[in-house]
Amino acid sequence: MTTKKQHTNKKRGHAETPKTPDSVNQLESKAQEYLQGWQRCQADFENYRKEEDKNRQLAREFLKATIVSELIPVLDNFDVAMKHSPGDSTSPADPTDSKAKQWLHGIGHIHKQLVQLVESWGVRIINPVGEPFDPLYHEALDHDGAGHAVTQVVHKGYLFQDRVLRPAKVRVGTQAAPSQPTQQANQT
């Protein structure tokens, strides 16, 4: 009675018969084929990894752009609030005057902090008073019929990675507006 082990040895004995040159060639070509397949697989994986890195980077940028886009109305409201701050309207005799000024000063700092935060993410603020009107970055709300310069910025624009998140909403004409109270933003 032959055991299972003996049977396996017989099989192995059969497999270890000397190779003919043809079978060696066949095995070599098969090995080459497997090697090339493996190399292709490695290259595909490398490409996939690069593509995934790129997609992750794009997703991060998209997320930032989305957050900034949602912050734009908040920044607009801060701009309007600072524009209409009471300033020196309170009486100097009023004991609450200095406190109110300090409070306003603090609010101004919070606004500045928010602007600095979005700028640190790579956002650039478009505030083009006096510059020629450029539809790539500006949206005209009004035109006095002559001239092609930005006379007033109604809402600032925001630029992220060369993509316009929102164009600056402007009035176009010949003369610049007398004053622009919000000058802390970048001029582009």
Binding site: F133, P135, L136, H138, E139, A140, L141, D142, H143, H148, R163, V164, P167, V172
Partner: protein, 152 residues
């Protein structure tokens, strides 16, 4: 063997009166492609700037207030119509750009110094969409299918 189709891509375009959009089929499902400005729709607006530069889409729309004579919108409303059609006569009263009767009663729109047919204006919108799709996909657009419907 290189598959011929892998060289190019087919896009679908919805040419609208106000806005247009483009899409590709990915995994059997349509997918809207964003334009170069990152928006899913492109205003169907064509303009000629004061510097003589042709502007299409969002950029053309942004400068419309400053350059109403040379900013063409709603051109699709005039496509395939005769100048004497009721719809065209109605549009004449509300559109700020110049429209005239062309050869054999057709409609012509003035853009800069040229008089163009409404279909030529729409072709400029289609060219912009095709160029944007090629930039976005990194492939040449070899074919397209267009949808054009008039609600009125």
């Amino acid at each position: 063997m290189i598959d011929k189709q892998s060289d190019g891509v087919i896009i679908g375009i919805d040419l609208g009166t106000t806005n247009s959009a483009m899409a590709i089929v990915e995994g059997g499902q349509p997918k809207i492609i964003e334009n170069t400005e990152g928006n899913r729709t492109t205003p169907s607006v064509v303009a000629l700037s004061k510097a003589g530069e042709r502007l299409v889409g969002q950029i053309a729309k942004r400068q419309a207030v400053t350059n109403s004579d040379n900013t063409i919108y709603s051109a699709k409303r005039l496509m395939g119509r005769r100048f004497k059609d009721k719809e065209v006569q109605k549009a004449l009263k509300i559109l700020p750009y110049h429209i005239r009767e062309g050869n054999s009663g057709s409609v012509e729109i003035k853009l800069g110094e040229k008089w163009l047919r409404p279909s030529e204006i729409s072709a400029m919108v289609l060219q912009k969409l095709k160029a944007d799709a090629e930039a976005k996909l990194g492939k040449k657009v070899t074919d397209s299918t267009k949808r054009k419907t008039n609600r009125s």
